[in-house]
């Protein structure tokens, strides 16, 4: 059996921003997936928002994430065929929020896309797609936000804009942030940096 992570022992406090830094293949995305309950560990235990993820089945983990955990992916992961507005109000609708549509419009306006509500993902630029993804991530609003290389697919200028937007919203909502990146300057904006090397925490 291949061990991707070994002896990782970490905790993220409420409202804290932690960067997981490491080279490609160091296991940082796997760690993020386990922390968010998107994957199951072969050994050890993960706790999220006071619940042991190991005790929950796939449905239990989904319920825990619903409207309390947000995600931003490197490849945006928007649903094709759905407009920007529909992509944002989907999690609100799943959570059974009353004015899902109104909230979604407000969020899109907050990320500067009030004029692009009905555009499909393929009609938006990479930066705009990531803004939609950030608006969706803050739809809860979440207590924890997991971001996997959020600027990895963007040019430097757009990347910086997205970075500012992410941290502004996080500050405004006092959301805990777990950020996976290999960029030092992004990691530097967090409260704490965790370095991974070949599946082990080195600092």
């Amino acid at each position: 059996m291949l061990h991707i992570l070994r002896g990782v022992d970490m905790a993220v406090n409420s409202g804290e921003a932690v960067a997981i830094l490491g080279a490609s293949g160091s296991g940082k995305s796997t760690l993020l997936g386990l922390l968010a309950g998107l994957d199951e560990p072969s050994g050890g235990a993960c706790h999220l928002l006071g619940q042991c993820l190991n005790d929950l089945d796939e449905d239990g983990r989904a319920r825990l994430r619903l409207a309390r955990v947000g995600f931003v992916f490197q490849s945006f992961q928007l649903l094709a065929g759905m407009s920007a507005l529909e992509n944002v109000y989907l999690p609100l609708q799943l959570a059974g929020r009353a004015d899902a549509r109104g909230q979604a419009i407000a969020l899109l306006e907050e990320v500067g896309l009030g004029h692009r509500l009905h555009h499909q993902p393929q009609q938006l630029s990479g930066g705009e797609q990531q803004r939609v993804a950030i608006a969706r991530a803050f739809a809860g609003p979440p207590q924890v936000l997991f971001a996997d290389e959020p600027t990895g697919n963007l040019d430097q200028h757009t990347g910086e804009q997205i970075e500012s937007l992410l941290f502004d919203l996080r500050d405004r909502h006092a959301t805990a942030l777990v950020l996976v990146t290999h960029e030092q300057h992004l990691a530097d904006r967090c409260d704490r940096i965790l370095r991974l090397d070949q599946g082990r925490v080195v600092a």
């Binding site: 409207a67 992916f73 992961q77 649903l79 507005l85 529909e86 609708q93 899902a100």
Partner: protein, 805 residues
């Protein structure tokens, strides 16, 4: 991932070929069995009959063509037995009789033989044996023949029509010595020939122009039209069922090929970057396609062979024994179908792979420039047309099916688009749940699934309707009092008395029709020569003698398709449409017949469609009463009657009071037609299963096409916190929605098409069918929802991150 689409491709070809091969093998065996049966009923492949001895030149010609020959002569005679005169029908045969079928003679020692009587011997029917009592000699004319046995089975019993007088079988060599045949004797001389089909056809053509005016040719093709119609209908139903399965398999192949292409693009782009030419690239993928086609095609043939045997067993053990072993003829046809299906439905999609841009290795969103939808649709259409004409071999049915498929596509396209448009309006208002949202966000894909699945469901429902309602209605069209005896040879002066007898005894009858036999000499002044026709049927029709009927009443089971039915007093002919088409007869043509040395001429005023399986008296060519009255041609009358159980004594009364009248029992023939309908129905039911399988394959192929995208969506919804129930219900709403729409539209279409097909092809009027609607409405959402549920469940168990990566 690619193997999923290849598996569906393989399964679709396998299913189509299996269905077509099974039906092909089965139909081929039934067809050959019937050919054999018809030949046995003639005791030969072809019989030439006339009132004069058969010329030696005919025999020499037949033998020079390598045909087996046998001669016979039949004539009535009287035996004086126990002091009473007894009318018998003598048949004198030679040693080679019968050429086809089986003769069974029960010897006095209890053994059984298939040998015809030798010179000096006589074989008699049971009735004569009773008259003979202990007597072992049969006095015939100047001869005393030794009783060699009882006639148990005579193959060509029907060739001389039903005899009221019992059969006496003797050797031809004894005819002259008996002194019974003089120049004025009412004897029929026959030449029986048998051999290769081509030689038979050649001999038939040679003989056509040499027959006397009273002569006639009887071949296996001139079987009873009642039986032919029933067989043709059974074959049409079977062809229709197999074609439905094959077409649906084509849709599955189309979808699977598109999926295969989509999944091969990345690999193809890398190969292009590494220097592979477009031709090499195409060949690489084409090779797999050919391999799959060949493997699935061959396996399908074997499966078809096994299945047709199962079908034969299922339809009844007796049938299996009566059928010849499967022939090879359907094999190339089934394999050809596989090739056409793949070329038409899969190749156009695969063709695109030649033009995959190498830059795709850097930018995954770069697709090859698409083959135009027109080319894709065109290739599928050509393949479809080829298959349909090939399979049903009936332009009317093919046209009906084509209209049906086009109608299905248009109706589903328009109605589906309308529904999506309505949903789109709700979408703008933000009032759509995840499931309904799934319907509107990819309208093209939804419409494709709707059309594919809807077409499957429509065909299934249509077939269920055809199988149930149409066949029921058709069987009902043969009521229990369908005529079971024909009365022929009624002299004009006997007609009134005979009609009174039937009335007195309350025997249902079709009425009496004057009839005579005539040869068609000319059409509008042009001499009719069989050699002028290239079509075999037309040649036969041009050389045969017709039973011409006369009367002013249009039979209830006849329908005028062109021209008008004559007014009383008007002279004219009405021609059956099939004969008119074969001989090129149109309204207004003057037909000239020769009847017993006299000429009979009149214009064609109408063309008729005839329901041959009604068992009423029907004629290919019918003349008006005025035409008969104005001529001097001799005629007799004929009619059909129904004799119920216990009414057989009527036959004896007929024999006594009208000795010249012959009664032909058609009960066994009627039973045979009913049997064919019954077996045909069951065979269609079996082939129906293939269609069901193919419709499910279409749904699976559609799901496979969107599988990768769906996996990602489910994972994303789970990441965002959607519960299992929410994800499953979104899937169920999406697929159930397509299912409800497909079900509704399919029921509507099947109902409409069923009514149309019933009227146009089978002459049956159908009413609305509530079950059809219920089944459509339930089957659509249940089948598609079930498939979505089965496909969605495994995705839910998988951690989202594995799919998102």
């Amino acid at each position: 991932m690619k193997t999923g689409s290849l598996r569906i491709l393989f399964a679709a070809v396998l299913l189509a070929v299996t269905a077509l091969a099974a039906v092909g093998f089965f139909a081929d065996r039934v067809e050959r069995a019937l050919q054999g049966e018809r030949a046995a009923a003639l005791a030969a492949d072809l019989v030439a009959e006339q009132g004069e001895p058969i010329p030696q030149a005919w025999i020499a010609r037949a033998q020079s063509l390598g045909l087996a020959t046998s001669r016979q002569v039949t004539f009535p005679s009287v035996l004086f037995l126990q002091g009473q005169p007894r009318l018998v029908q003598v048949k004198a045969v030679d040693a080679s009789y019968p050429l086809r079928g089986r003769l069974r003679v029960g010897r006095p020692d209890g053994s059984e033989s298939g040998e015809p009587p030798r010179p000096g011997e006589a074989v008699v029917e049971a009735r004569i044996a009773r008259w003979l009592g202990e007597q072992t000699e049969v006095p015939l004319g100047r001869l005393k023949l030794r009783l060699a046995g009882r006639l148990l089975e005579e193959p060509d019993v029907g060739a001389s029509l039903f005899r009221l007088a019992p059969r006496l079988l003797i050797n031809r060599a004894d005819v002259d010595a008996s002194g019974l045949l003089g120049p004025a004797s009412r004897a029929h001389f026959r030449l029986l020939v048998a051999g290769e089909a081509r030689q038979i056809a050649s001999f038939r053509q040679w003989l056509g122009s040499r027959l006397n005016a009273d002569g006639r040719l009887l071949g296996v093709e001139d079987g009873r039209p009642e039986l032919n119609t029933a067989i043709e209908r059974a074959r049409r139903f079977l062809g229709l069922a197999a074609l439905c399965a094959s077409l649906l398999a084509g849709v599955a192949i189309l979808l699977a090929a598109r999926d295969y292409l989509a999944r091969s693009l990345d690999e193809a782009a890398i190969l292009r970057t590494l220097g592979m030419t477009s031709r090499q690239l195409l060949w690489r993928y084409l090779r797999r396609l050919i391999g799959i086609g060949l493997a699935a095609g061959l396996l399908g043939c074997v499966a078809g062979l096994v299945l047709q045997q199962a079908l034969v067993h299922w339809l009844g053990g007796e049938m299996g024994q009566a059928l010849p072993p499967p022939g090879w003829a359907p094999l190339p046809v089934a394999l050809g179908h596989a090739a056409v299906l793949l070329l038409g439905f899969a190749l156009p999609s695969l063709w695109q792979i030649r033009r995959v841009p190498p830059l795709r290795v850097l930018r995954r969103d770069l697709d090859p420039p698409g083959v135009s939808q027109l080319a894709l649709g065109g290739a599928a259409l050509v393949a479809y047309l080829l298959l349909i004409f090939w399979q049903v071999n009936d332009s009317k049915l093919a046209f009906g099916m084509t209209l049906g498929v086009a109608g299905v596509l248009v109706v589903f396209g328009v109605a589906g688009w309308g529904c999506l448009w309505l949903l789109g309006r709700r979408r703008r208002a933000g009032r759509l749940g995840a499931g309904l949202l799934g319907l509107v966000r990819q309208p093209g894909l939804v419409l494709m699934q709707l059309a594919g699945f809807g077409m499957g469901l429509s065909l299934l429902l249509l077939l269920a309707l055809v199988r149930g309602d149409l066949l029921d209605a058709w069987q009902r069209s043969l009521p229990p009092d369908t005529p079971n005896h024909f009365l022929i040879n009624i002299q004009p002066d006997e007609a009134g008395e005979l009609a009174r007898l039937l009335d007195e005894r309350q025997i249902p009858s079709s009425g009496l029709y004057p009839t005579t036999r005539g040869r068609l000499l000319a059409i509008s002044g042009m001499r009719v020569d069989p050699a002028d026709y290239s079509d075999m049927r037309a040649r036969r029709l041009a050389s045969r003698e017709y039973s011409l009927g006369f009367g002013d009443r249009l039979q209830g089971d006849n329908r005028i398709v062109a021209g008008h039915w004559w007014q009383p007093g008007e002279a004219g002919f009405s021609v059956e449409e099939g004969v008119a088409k074969a001989l090129g007869i149109i309204i207004g043509d003057e037909l000239l017949f020769e009847v017993a040395g006299q000429r009979l001429q009149g214009p064609v005023t109408s063309l008729r469609e005839v329901a041959w399986d009604s068992f009423n008296v029907n004629f290919f060519i019918q003349g008006s009463q005025a035409l008969l009255d104005r001529s001097e041609v001799p005629y007799t009358l004929l009619g059909s009657i129904y004799l119920g159980p216990g009414q057989d004594e009527v036959l004896a009364i007929l024999a006594e009071r009208f000795p010249a009248v012959s009664a032909i029992a058609i009960g066994p023939l009627l039973q045979k037609v009913r049997d064919i309908i019954g077996r045909g129905t069951r065979a269609v039911e079996a082939v129906f299963l293939f269609t069901l399988g193919a419709a499910l394959l279409v749904s699976l192929a559609a799901l496979q096409l969107t599988r990768a995208q769906r996996e990602r969506e489910v994972a994303l919804m789970r990441t965002l916190g959607a519960s299992r129930r929410q994800v499953l219900s979104a899937l169920l709403v999406e697929f159930g929605g397509i299912g409800v729409l497909a079900g509704l539209l399919s029921a509507l279409l099947a109902q409409g098409l069923g009514i149309w097909l019933g009227q146009r092809l089978f002459g049956i009027v159908l009413g609305p069918d509530l079950w059809l609607w219920l089944v459509g409405l339930l089957a659509g959402p249940l089948l598609l929802g079930g498939i979505a549920w089965l496909a969605g469940r495994p995705l839910l168990a998988m951690p989202p991150l594995r799919i998102l990566r």
